[in-house]
């Protein structure tokens, strides 16, 4: 079955923030770290880095940046 577009977007956001903005990886997180507010804050951090509107939401512009080819080194932290 094809994966719904919204589910794919969620996957893109999760993977991107885990790789480049130190969002704790799934399966290793505590319940508290799993809260949507953590993802919103990480999204805002990413949007601030790229000069996007800090909506904290995976809007079209944010997803477009996340889908661009890039370096594998994180944008924040070591």
């Amino acid at each position: 079955f094809p994966v719904p577009a919204q589910e794919m977007d969620t996957q893109v956001v999760q993977d991107y923030l885990e790789k480049f903005y130190q969002l704790p990886r799934r399966g290793l997180r505590s319940q508290r770290q799993n809260s949507p507010s953590v993802i919103v804050e990480k999204l805002k951090e990413m949007q601030r880095f790229f000069g996007l509107s800090e909506t904290g939401k995976p809007d079209r512009q944010t997803l477009a940046v996340m889908r661009k080819p890039r370096c594998g080194v994180p944008d924040s932290g070591d």
Binding site: F50, V65, P69, R70, C71, G72, V73, D78
Partner: protein
Amino acid sequence: FMLTPGNPKWEQTNLTYRIIKYTTQLSEADVEEAIKKAFQVWSNASSLTFTKTSQEEADIKIAFVQGDHGDNSPFDGPNGILAHAFQPGQGIGGDAHFDEDEIWTMNSSSYNLFLVAAHEFGHSLGLAHSTDPGALMYPNYAFRDPSTYTLPQDDINGIQAIYGPSNNPIQP
């Protein structure tokens, strides 16, 4: 520009590099030319020099690898992540890895090896990603003509903040 957290840097300014695994998509001569030119971008703007070596213990080791290649930072197949490099240090420190699943070129199609290598070597020297979209250290790939490429001011400021200016600056 931004420096890598902890401000890691090489203590010596004469650094060595070794290409330990070539890509199958370009001739070895093309790879060596692109890598040499990528290092020159940084040596022209700083006190650093880079020498190619065949010795095991090079400061910066370069390899084209794919998927999970044993450094806990697996590549993801075509597109997405193109390459990564480690901050200055012993062992894996300074090493640069390029995703062999990408299409590497010497021109404007797909991913130009010189441009990606120059970016990665910035990490090898202690620079982090810049928020300046025109900077070489901006995280996303953007093609620029390698034949006329000059290091953007943001990156010059960054490398000189770590290692000081070039001993032989190029006159404008």
